[in-house]
């Protein structure tokens, strides 16, 4: 089938009722057993003969016998099989119910089973509708026409791709034998009736199924006792109390109250000596230390002494990848692989084999979150070990001693004194220049280029 490749992990959506689906699947497999399953036959539908068709009453009878229950209950199970897409009706294909009579059904191909890992998303549906439009111009059902118009608007930016895919699939379909094509069309149609149901089913049923899934997920989610989580909230407040300008005085003064921006000047990004309060805040968590770029610089000094700067460098590179432009991702991923992950890489990070394997494999098709696992691993390492060693280190103790403790200033409010400070655009440009210089300085030297330069001289 030329339809699609498996999508990246969206399994969370289905995990909670997987165990239900597994039971249904086991049942369906048994029903298809050539000896003990439901008896199928060839049926003529319009002009074409379709193989392996089963009747509703045969299905219900089989379930009644298998589960040793009444016909009504068997009918409900049958309806569940249809509602979840394991069996589809050939006539009245929009009504997903099991009828205990001579209505005709077929087993859905496992490719379209709901337990499969990909989700029926809008792009796929758009391709399907576009393909139907090619085949039978203007013969989409009213609700499908509405879907199509909506998708045409919402997915307009990739409509060329959608039309191209639809045309490809249509051509591929024409090359199949007619009975195969009719069967496949029925399967595909059934899949979409389930995932994009028409009117009454959509409005009434649709909110309930995903909602039930959501409740199941919520029940299974690990929760913490109130005393624990509320205790943590209180602890946070207590830790930061003296740092909150609304609860404790800012030193030397709150700029808004005294018109003096000394507080901001003392706490700028690249001061030589930070204030004592600022240094204390770095000790609250690794997050605080990393978020304050001055703190991160101090941390880097410590890491350099320990010859373990590659973890933080990798974390920073992964952040740049995550928050960078979509177009830069491929090149960034390549650089990261060469610098940190390749065998004998200049700044090779020491992560466990499994994570390394997953990451390297993921880098074959890089996306924004491809380094998540590795980044989390590295962050946890820094959080649980490196961070605490930093706090006990001479580097930190030294900066603690040297840090400034400004005296509270009782300045007169004077609107004329309000200094304009440095514009953020200027600061940003300065930082970008420094970053570029640092990157150039630490880039691995291209020995061949250097040698040829020397030779030429």
């Amino acid at each position: 089938m030329t339809i699609r490749t498996a999508r990246p992990d969206r399994v969370e959506h289905f995990r909670p009722h997987m165990h239900c689906l597994k039971k249904l699947e086991a049942l369906v497999v048994e029903m298809q057993d050539p000896k003990t399953g439901v008896k199928g036959s060839e049926q003529k539908l319009n002009v074409t003969t379709i193989p392996h068709v089963i009747t509703g009453k045969d299905i219900v009878a089989w379930i009644t016998n298998k589960m040793k229950t009444t016909a009504e209950e068997a009918n409900v199970v049958g309806t569940m099989l249809v509602a979840y897409g394991y069996i589809y009706p050939l006539q009245n294909h929009k009504k997903l119910v099991m009828c205990n009579d001579s209505s005709l059904y077929r087993f859905q191909t496992p490719y379209f089973w709901p337990s499969q890992k990909w989700v029926a998303d809008d792009s796929d549906y758009a391709i399907y509708l576009a393909k139907r439009n090619i085949r039978k111009k203007g013969l989409l059902e009213p609700y499908e026409q509405v879907h199509y118009n909506h998708l045409h608007k919402w997915l307009n930016h990739k409509w060329d791709f959608i039309v191209m895919q639809a045309t490809e699939q249509y051509r591929a379909g024409r090359e199949r034998k007619k009975p195969d094509r009719v069967v496949f069309d029925c399967q595909e149609r059934a899949y979409w009736i389930l995932n994009r149901p028409p009117v009454s089913v959509y409005i009434v049923c649709f909110p309930v199924l995903p909602q039930n899934i959501f409740y199941q997920q919520a029940i299974m989610r690990s929760k913490v006792k109130s005393s624990v989580s509320l205790g943590a909230l209180v602890k946070y407040v207590t830790t930061y109390k003296t740092h909150d300008p609304f609860l404790a005085p800012c030193l030397p003064s709150n700029p808004w109250q005294t018109d003096s921006d000394a507080y901001w000047t003392l706490n700028m990004r690249s001061v030589d000596l930070p204030t004592k309060m600022r240094v204390e805040r770095w000790s609250f968590s690794l997050f605080e230390l990393l978020t304050d770029l001055r703190g991160r610089d101090d941390f880097k000094i410590f890491l350099k002494k320990e010859f373990s700067g590659e973890n933080l460098a990798f974390w920073e590179a992964a952040e740049e990848l995550k928050w960078g432009t979509a177009s830069s991702m491929k090149s960034k991923a390549e650089t990261i692989f060469k610098t940190f992950l390749a065998p004998n890489a200049p700044r090779w990070i020491n992560i466990d084999g499994r994570t390394m394997g997953l990451t390297v494999k993921g880098l074959e098709h890089p996306h924004r979150y491809v380094l998540d696992a590795a980044q989390t691993h590295v962050l946890l390492l820094m959080k649980k070990d490196t961070f605490f060693r930093y706090l006990k280190s001479p580097v930190y103790k030294d900066i603690q001693k040297k840090a400034l403790n400004p005296d509270p200033a009782q300045l007169e409010q004077n609107a004329q004194n309000r200094s304009p400070g440095i514009h953020p655009i200027i600061l940003w440009k300065q930082e970008e220049e420094e970053k570029a210089k640092a990157a150039a300085a630490s880039a691995p030297v291209d020995v061949k280029a250097m040698m040829s330069k020397i030779d030429r001289k």
């Binding site: 992990d9 969370e12 309806t79 009245n92 119910v97 009828c99 009213p142 609700y143 509405v146 608007k153 930016h157 028409p198 009434v204 049923c205 309930v208 909602q211 039930n212 959501f214 409740y215 919520a218 029940i219 929760k223 109130s226 624990v228 205790g231 943590a232 909230l233 209180v234 946070y236 407040v237 207590t238 830790t239 930061y240 740092h243 909150d244 300008p245 609304f246 609860l247 800012c250 700029p255 109250q257 921006d261 901001w264 706490n267 690794l286 995550k322 928050w323 960078g324 432009t325 979509a326 177009s327 924004r368 998540d372 962050l379 309000r418 304009p420 953020p424 655009i425 200027i426 940003w428």
Partner: protein, 389 residues
């Protein structure tokens, strides 16, 4: 009388108040029922009844699970905490320059500059410390309901009734026409209610009256992820402050506050305890909880780890809705801007109101605490912004 008339006009203009929020493309035409379809309809209804019972059962099971872990109330834990003293919070700056209602504002990371947007389509960048206006842009639409400052300080984003979010790179040259370099990034099918840059200038998160949130790549305008799950207009959003930075919370007219995973687009937690539209959501500084403000005149605190609402901040005398909330740096104080022109300051732990601030002459529409917590800024329908400290 003047105020009432103004309110009436603005109600009809602002589509947020229309209950008929669903666009025509979401309404489906029913096909005529035939007799045989009617019998199948009956069977279908039985299936639905079964699903609905399952739904009720699951819901009560979830409540049961939550109740088991609910061993203490917030104010009980807070009993051991020191009480707060008296507060002297005054207006330290008043920023005048907008010609109409101020709808939104955001702080620059430099802790002194802000961007604000208003109903007349103007977006202004101010150095709030000196009260100088640095830039002004006129948007092609009115009701600019959302604006945001880029983390680098080099650009701003804004949008509203144009259904888009556009990014304007800022310049050191005051005479430069910023509109010339404007970049259209997000496209929704209804008004833009909120926008926020992520950790870099390269991505924007938006929420819209079309019921969805979306993550966009600024450079290409590409949609990176969309978030579906709200049943009505989404009015607000806030990004989590954690080092992993992968979740955000949104609030909507469906009274729900949803927590989303930015990577997968999945809604990972949902809270529905408010009695009316949620106008504002804001994370607690630790990222383990968030507060919400609603038209039902209450602010609420939700604990993400315990998965439930843990506090309601309300008073009988407070009748009008909350438009905007934010925490002080330590998370001890919650500031709320209200539609009755006041600002109420709440003790987050003890649940009491510690201060009420007057000054604005019309409803407070937006409120944000500065990045270093030294002040908070409010924007109002009285056309001004005020800095309080």
């Amino acid at each position: 009388q003047k105020v009432l008339v103004e309110l009436k006009i603005t109600f009809s203009q602002c589509s947020k108040n229309e209950r008929n929020y669903k666009t025509t493309s979401r309404k489906y035409m029913r096909s005529p029922l035939s007799p045989e379809m009617a019998t199948q309809e009956v069977q279908l209804n039985e299936t639905l009844a079964h699903l609905k019972t399952e739904s009720e059962n699951l819901k009560s099971k979830l409540e049961e699970e939550r109740a088991k872990l609910h061993d203490v109330e917030l104010h009980q834990v807070a009993e051991k905490v020191e009480g707060l003293g008296q507060f002297i919070m005054k207006t330290r700056r008043t920023l005048k320059g907008h010609g109409n209602k101020v709808l939104c504002m955001d702080w620059c990371k430099d802790k002194r500059r802000i961007v604000s947007s208003s109903q007349d389509g103007k977006v202004i960048v101010w150095d709030a410390f000196t009260t100088n206006k640095e830039h002004a842009v006129t948007m092609p639409c009115t009701w600019v309901m959302a604006c945001a400052y880029a983390p680098s300080g080099c650009a701003v984003a804004c949008g509203g009734l144009d259904n888009k979010c556009s990014v304007y790179p800022l310049s050191l040259d005051k005479n430069e026409n910023l509109a010339a370099k404007k970049k259209s990034v997000a496209m929704h099918t209804n008004y833009l209610s909120a926008c926020s840059f992520t950790n870099s200038d390269m991505q924007i998160l938006t929420s819209s009256g079309d019921g969805t949130c979306a993550l966009w790549d600024v450079e290409s305008g590409q949609l990176l992820q969309s978030f579906h799950g709200h049943a009505a207009d989404v009015l607000c959003l806030d990004l989590a402050p954690s080092e992993t930075g992968n979740t955000f919370v949104s609030g909507g007219c469906d009274k729900k506050a949803n927590v989303w995973d930015m990577r997968s687009g999945q809604c990972i937690q949902s809270f529905e305890t408010h009695e009316s539209d949620i106008n504002s959501v804001r994370y607690y500084p630790s990222g383990d909880a968030f507060a919400s403000g609603s038209d039902d005149a209450t602010c609420r605190l939700y604990d993400l780890r315990a998965d439930r609402e843990v506090a309601i901040y309300s008073k009988e005398s407070i009748i009008f809705g909350v438009s905007s909330v934010d925490f002080s740096l330590s998370g001890r104080l919650l500031f709320g801007g209200y539609n009755d022109y006041t600002i109420n300051v709440w003790d987050v732990l003890k649940g009491t109101r510690v201060s009420i601030l007057f000054g604005h002459e019309n409803r407070v529409s937006t409120l944000r605490v500065s990045p270093d917590g030294t002040a908070f800024c409010t924007g109002s329908w009285d056309h001004t912004l005020r800095i309080w400290a």
